[in-house]
């Protein structure tokens, strides 16, 4: 049986149930998404962009999906200890695929700002939601997005109206909690009005040792002169698989930062699609992973410079241990007429063992003649001279290795524009290298 069949059957059988638990806006693209999924299926490893990740294999096992919307038994506010404390964020939870709405953060966001469940949002603001939901993440040529759109029942939304500045960082914690193998389809929608500002930190955790699978579709609409930071911290488990796609549409003079950090995972595929559609828009896309054992992170990015005078800065780093596998595919498209484009791309990888594998492919397509574009890729080992220099000052070799590994990824963390989060991340990265983060700290705090 093809991996797709069980999802086709599931939808056919339970479509009414899914629809009944959902909202009009979320239901609207469902049938088309189903048709797209049936037509496209999962991307095959023969597809150039999916060479290193066998999607069908990941979706083949039988995962439970919470179609009946069974209530979340625990209050995550009570049991969950965040790994990034003292940030005083406005904190929200998604447990598996459901937004936790039985309690709210104790902080108030500015007037007019909506942070909360997607389903409730689409009901309260159908007009706004209808204008944006599904408009950046097209189902028509991506089977995983189609699957997500056809099964989605809830998600998380940030809506910041024109001119509103949200000082307090917003935090969303995605929790996997189940006694049986579970799949969750997750969705984040961010709508930033003109001249608005906000910062979102999303943390992925897996609290049980069963197998988890998630699809995560993130749509970010950045209006003119808006400023939005998206920090994505993955601290799941070796038995967690995630397929995430991030779709950013930027208008003129907007500034969006996306920083994806994987400290612990099983198999992760991150697709980043950035569209710079208005002049003088700026995009920073960066990320890093620290991998060991059989862990895998496959990063695909596609940045489109559609108009002149935009800037994109891309930086991805991977540290690979044991038999881990990393892949990076970075496509930058500078369209005809997109003059005065500045686009930089860097991918650097550290292989700590002979068995670790890294596949890297930069791909620049430039159809304008007055641009500044560059790309650089290196994959190698730690600098032996630097290692010896540290040792010669009394620092043991293992410690020196750790210091250099932390240093290697430091610039990715330095991109964080939230001082306390930056400090905390430096600290977490160091802990990870010391092997003190083998399990997510949040889980330990809960049990």
């Amino acid at each position: 049986m093809k991996a797709e069949q069980q999802y086709i059957d599931l939808f056919t059988q339970y479509e009414d149930l899914i629809r009944s638990h959902s909202s009009g806006i979320l239901n609207r693209p469902r049938t088309e998404a189903f048709n797209d999924f049936e037509r496209l299926g999962f991307p095959s490893v023969e597809h150039e962009d999916y060479k290193y990740t066998d999607v069908a294999q990941a979706f083949a096992p039988d995962y439970g999906i919470n179609l009946k919307r069974i209530d979340i038994p625990v209050n995550p506010y009570d049991v969950f200890c965040c790994d990034v404390p003292n940030l005083s964020t406005a904190l929200y939870f998604i447990v598996n695929d459901s937004f936790y709405d039985k309690a709210e953060p104790h902080v108030k966001l500015p007037e007019g700002v909506y942070a909360g469940g997607l389903k409730a949002f689409t009901e309260a603001y159908p007009e706004v939601a209808g204008r944006y939901y599904g408009k950046a993440a097209a189902c028509s040529h991506d089977g995983i997005i189609a699957l997500n759109t056809m099964l989605i029942q809830d998600g998380f939304v940030i809506y910041v109206p024109e001119g509103v500045v949200v000082e307090r960082p917003i935090q969303l914690v995605n929790i996997f909690r189940s006694d049986v193998d579970t799949m969750a389809n997750r969705r984040i929608l961010v709508i930033m009005g003109a001249r608005s500002q906000a910062k979102l930190l999303v943390c992925d955790h897996s609290m049980d040792d069963v197998k988890f699978l998630s699809t995560q579709v993130v749509e970010i609409f950045a209006g003119q002169e808006s400023r939005f930071d998206f920090y994505d911290l993955e601290e799941s488990s070796e038995s967690t698989t995630r397929f995430a796609s991030f779709h950013v549409k930027q208008e003129a003079s907007s500034n969006v930062l996306v920083n994806g950090i994987t400290l612990n995972n099983g198999l992760t595929r991150n697709n980043y699609y950035i569209e710079l559609n208005g002049e003088y828009a700026e995009s920073t896309l960066c990320g890093m992973s620290i991998l060991d054992m059989e862990q895998q992170v496959d990063t695909y990015s596609h940045i489109i410079h559609a108009v002149p005078n935009c800037t994109s800065n891309e930086l991805f780093k991977n540290v690979l241990n044991d038999r881990s596998v990393g892949a990076f595919s970075g496509r930058i498209l500078v369209k005809e007429g997109a003059q005065k484009t500045t686009a930089y791309q860097t991918n650097r990888n550290l292989l700590a063992t002979r068995e670790a594998r890294m596949y890297s492919k930069p791909q620049l397509e430039i159809y304008a003649d007055d641009v500044k574009c560059s790309h650089g890729m290196t994959t190698g080992q730690l600098d032996e001279d630097a290692l010896f220099y540290l040792q010669s000052r009394g620092i043991p070799k293992e410690e020196a290795r750790m210091m250099l590994s932390v240093a290697f990824t430091a610039d990715v963390v330095d991109n964080v524009r939230l001082e306390r989060l930056k400090e905390r991340l430096h600290n977490l990265v160091e802990k990870r290298f010391r092997g003190e983060l083998a399990q997510c700290a949040g889980c330990r705090g809960c049990k």
Partner: protein
Amino acid sequence: MVLEIKNLHANINGKEILKGINLSINKGEIHAIMGPNGSGKSTLSSVLVGNPAFEVTEGEVIYEGKDLLELSPEDRSREGIFLSFQYPVEIPGVSMVNFMRAAVNEHRKYKNLEPISATDFLKLMREKRDIVEMDSKLAGRSVNEGFSGGEKKRNEIFQMAMLEPKLAILDETDSGLDIDALRVVANGVNTLRTPENATIVITHYQRLLDYIKPDVVHVLYNGRIVKTGGPELSLELEEKGYDWLKEEV
């Protein structure tokens, strides 16, 4: 005796560079090792600090009564050996402060001492920085990253001041230094000198020895020490070059 080298032979990539070095250094002494390019000066310093690129094939090195060659590079440092590198490495992402704190605490741990407190550490940094007149901004930067040649050498002596070695080896510390920086660096070395420690100054030229006065001068040529004398030997070399020695050998 601080250091005793007996019949030391060493290879790099199978090629023999040191061909039987004998050298003894006592507490409180400054020894200069001079010699033409390629004579093995830097190899000697590399071997003494345990650079894995070099292979010792014969001989022994006794440091403070211990078999030095048995010790790891980090233990040699903790035992009090310090090399001021000819070409200090740039290490982006590792700040000088973190680097020095880690080093100082490793030295302390080795002596069964508690880690240094934050305030004591900052005080120590300040104090030692003054010895080499190092800009306080440099301490906040990554190790040697973007430092000028002179700043790198100052930074080496600064680290030496922080770690207070019993045996300091200065490998071509004068190369790339202008006269002012040279004076500062030499002054740093002289300030750190005590009757309890010893220094090896490896240099090509007399210049540095005008500031750091050696007790003994050795000439290294073709992997061996071919001549040993007092401070006057360095002056003679300055005047006559190395050719007469080569002929003598």
